[in-house]
């Protein structure tokens, strides 16, 4: 293969995306664990580590800019780099959601305790699995897998609906819980948004493979079958 060094740099770029993805997965898992266990030290760590996620994102972005400038990539090579630029933005935002959950946890230590909805760990688990699978699909250039992963966002949406119901029930039963319950709704919202961001990544996988930009909720058989 010609342009071996460029090919190596492209692979290196993808490796960096995987590293960033792992950092975000860890942040999400820790943020929910900290909330459930009222582990404020862990929550603090998640908030502090968000800066590392942000830095990593900028580092990858800079590598993308340098590759475009120096290598003038075309066709599928260009699509990979454009997708990386988009994917790292989604990852960085997911890091913000985890950090947001950790910040809420830190605020909650001053509130009267209120049992967090039991759906949170499951929502985080699905989100992390989707994220991990989406990045695998990106590296494997597997558009079919990307369609299937994207539709699992429905599960998270359904759990979020339950979270809303439970938190509203808290408030209805005892209006003094309103502030805490609202914060818990925000946690649910952040977890729900993670699913949406993974869907964005899946759309980038499809773009990388096919060159077409499309919403995952198309008429594609894989998406329909999984719904």
């Amino acid at each position: 293969m010609a342009r071996e060094s460029f090919a190596r740099q492209l692979r290196g770029l993808q490796d960096e995306v995987i590293v960033l993805g792992s950092m975000v997965e860890k942040a999400i898992a820790r943020s929910v664990e900290a909330l459930q266990k009222r582990d404020f030290e862990l929550a603090d760590l998640v908030v502090k580590n968000d800066e590392k996620i942000n830095q990593k994102r900028f580092q990858i972005e800079e590598e993308c800019v340098m590759l475009i400038t120096k290598q003038q990539p075309m066709a599928s090579d260009l699509r990979v780099i454009l997708s990386v630029l988009s994917v790292i933005t989604d990852l960085e935002r997911m890091g913000d959601y985890a950090s947001g959950i950790a910040e809420i946890t830190l605020i909650l230590q001053h509130d009267p305790p209120l049992e967090p909805p039991a759906e949170f760990p499951r929502m985080a688990e699905i989100g992390i699995q989707m994220l991990s699978d989406s990045l695998k699909a990106f590296v494997a250039r597997d558009a079919e897998a990307a369609y299937r992963i994207g539709v699992r966002d429905d599960e998270i949406d359904a759990l979020y609906h339950k979270v809303m119901q439970q938190c509203l029930a808290y408030i209805t039963e005892d209006p003094r819980t309103a502030a805490t319950a609202t914060r818990l709704i925000w946690v649910g919202h952040n977890l729900e948004r993670i699913g949406d961001r993974v869907t964005n990544i899946c759309e980038r996988v499809i773009f990388t493979v096919t060159g077409k930009m499309e919403e995952i909720w198309g008429t594609h058989p894989s998406a329909e079958a999984s719904r």
Binding site: M1, A2, R3, F6, A7, Q72, P73, M74, A75, S76, D77, L78, R79, T210, G211, K212
Partner: protein
């Protein structure tokens, strides 16, 4: 969209070497069509078939049809000089005649019988303006065509082609001997020219093909592997070989 040139199952041979294999393609009027591919792929051979420049090479043979405005340019009754007036050509190395700038541009019209000085002056000015060279040379039309810069020489050659009012301008790597600024001037010029002419360009510079052309054809081993909108060829080519070539994986 009018088809200016239509190649129909064109095969071309240099003696026993089968250089073009079953090329069929329609080239639209008032568009820029780029032909790309590795050295020896047949793209320049194909370009030279479009105004019968290969006729001068011994032991060459063409099968199939090339239609210009619907007429087969390889019919025996075709006047090749008249054909090359309609289908002009610009070469890789700027090749002005060792004459004045004026005489370089007036050369073609004179050969076609125009001797009226006032008319020739009009043609020279119009052609140099169309080639975006007029402002730079209008005060030195008597200067030798060889005494100006390479980029100016190439635009002079384009003016020389335009002076005989062609329909089609073929360009065989017109910028490969030019610096980046002169290259950009030629590229800008091409965008102006396509309003009135049909342009076919062979280029090794893929960024150039992507920048200037409306449609691109990828040649490989004498075959036209893929032909389509430049936007598609350079972003999502259909054929794996095209993808490998434009991403630099060919070889």
């Amino acid at each position: 969209m009018t088809t200016r040139i239509s190649a129909q199952d064109v095969n071309f041979y240099y003696d026993k070497v089968h250089a073009l294999k079953g090329i069929s393609v329609d080239i639209n009027a008032n568009e820029i069509t780029a032909l790309i591919g590795p050295s020896g792929c047949g793209k320049s051979t194909f370009l030279r078939c479009l105004n019968r420049m290969n006729d001068v090479i011994p032991k060459t043979r063409l099968e199939g049809k090339i239609l210009l405005d619907g007429d087969d340019i390889y019919q025996p009754e075709i006047d090749v000089v008249a054909l090359r007036k309609k289908v002009g050509m610009v070469f890789q190395q700027p090749n002005p005649f060792p004459k004045s700038i004026f005489e370089n541009v007036a050369f073609g019209p004179r050969r076609l019988g125009e001797n009226d000085r006032a008319k020739l002056e009009g043609i020279v000015e119009k052609s140099l303006k169309a080639a975006a060279l007029w402002d730079e040379v209008k005060d030195q039309l008597g200067k030798s065509g060889l005494a100006i810069s390479g980029g100016q020489q190439q635009r002079l050659c384009i003016a020389r082609v335009l002076a005989v009012e062609p329909e089609v301008v073929l360009m065989d790597e017109p910028c490969s001997a030019l610096d980046p600024i002169a290259t950009l001037k030629i590229e800008e010029l091409m965008q102006d020219l396509k309003k009135n002419y049909t342009i076919v360009i062979v280029t090794h510079n893929m960024q150039q093909a992507a920048r200037v052309s409306d449609r691109t054809g990828f040649f490989l081993l004498g075959e036209l592997v893929e032909f389509g909108l430049t936007d598609d060829i350079f972003s999502r080519p259909r054929d794996r070989r095209t993808e490998d070539y434009i991403t630099g994986r060919f070889g």
